[in-house]
């Protein structure tokens, strides 16, 4: 599993935020568009793409996109 691909899938959950604004070190909660619905979409995307079940707390405990990527890798 590659982080580049994860970032792309992550950015895909946003409608207003340009993909160029999102990289490994982005603090995703600081993005203006961030919402609880996007958090749910990310949990669903991770389940579908990586077969990993994230909890709401996994999202809460991560700051950057890379943090979340590492959580998924550790749960693989």
């Amino acid at each position: 599993m590659k982080i580049e691909e994860f970032i792309e899938n992550f950015a895909d959950q946003f409608d207003e935020t340009d993909a160029s604004e999102i990289n490994a070190s982005t603090n995703f909660r600081d993005l203006e568009e961030w919402s609880s619905l996007i958090a749910l979409s990310i949990i669903a995307m991770v389940d579908e793409e990586y077969d990993v079940t994230l909890k709401g707390d996994d999202i809460k405990d991560a700051n950057t996109v890379e943090d979340l990527f590492n959580t998924i890798v550790s749960k693989k």
């Binding site: 619905l37 669903a44 995307m45 389940d47 579908e48 909890k55 709401g56 809460k60």
Partner: protein
């Protein structure tokens, strides 16, 4: 003056089958039914948890409680169950699963997973109990539906909500058809009840605490809140009520 014997909500001598009795609302209903004099048949998948339910039950007069381990997704289990169970005066269908998933990820697989337990298995049980005449004249059926999917449409609970809306619809068709045998069918639509079903982890505990503030009565429901409504519907006090969906939500739907 004698007033102590007056209790229109008594379940004395009634045999009541509770499906999903090993936790949450089903468990609370099983325990409360036992305290009102019913002979309870507690049905669930997990024996240890069913035994916990049994331990919390009260024996009044000469009531007899028992439990049955069955997986209602399994056709063999269902057939065995329907032949094993004696005639019943009350049936509470409270097995179910929750799922929070945005619609763009709501694949047919996910729909089937939830509909199989929340809708198809409930309807099949209800159908067989009626067809095999296990539901006797004047008996009462209570389906556990939800506020979600029937009155509120938030929180990415589309699949779950649709399964409960389907259940509410079938409830009315059954109520109409089963009235010929005076069998009553109603449903309960609760708001958020503090049971294992809502603590799945998709939503954080903090988010749940925040959500609670949206309720005019400022708390989530307790399993007993729903159990007492179920008891009313199962009792003869509700003998003129059928085909209705009852909201119990701490006032959320009037906000």
């Amino acid at each position: 003056m004698m007033t102590t014997d007056f209790n229109p909500f008594s379940l004395n001598g009634k045999t009541i089958l509770i499906v999903g009795a090993s936790s949450g609302i089903g468990q609370a209903t099983a325990i409360a039914c036992s305290k009102l004099g019913a002979n309870v048949i507690a049905l669930g998948r997990n024996e240890d948890r069913l035994i916990e339910t049994m331990k919390s039950m009260t024996n009044t007069n000469d009531s007899i409680h028992r439990y049955i381990i069955a997986d209602i997704l399994n056709t063999e289990d269902i057939n065995k169950l329907v032949s094993e169970v004696p005639s019943i005066d009350g049936l509470m269908l409270s097995a179910g699963r929750g799922l929070t998933l945005p619609m763009q990820y709501a694949t047919r697989d996910k729909f089937e997973e939830i509909f199989n337990i929340n809708f198809f298995s409930q309807v099949e049980l209800l159908r067989l109990f009626y067809k095999k005449k296990k539901l006797i004249r004047n008996s009462s059926v209570v389906l556990l539906s939800s506020l979600g999917g029937t009155k509120i449409f938030s929180g990415s609970n589309g699949i779950y909500g649709a399964s409960k809306a389907a259940l509410n619809s079938i409830m009315k068709f059954c109520a109409k058809e089963f009235a010929t045998r005076k069998v009553r069918v109603n449903s309960i639509c609760p708001g958020m009840i503090d049971t294992p079903l809502i603590h799945r982890g998709t939503i954080t505990e903090e988010q749940l605490q925040d959500d609670m503030k949206n309720y005019p009565l400022k708390r989530y429901g307790r399993p007993e809140d729903v159990a007492y409504l179920a008891i009313y519907l199962l009792s003869d006090a509700a003998s003129w009520i059928t085909g209705q969906d009852f909201i119990i939500d701490g006032g959320l739907s009037i906000k």
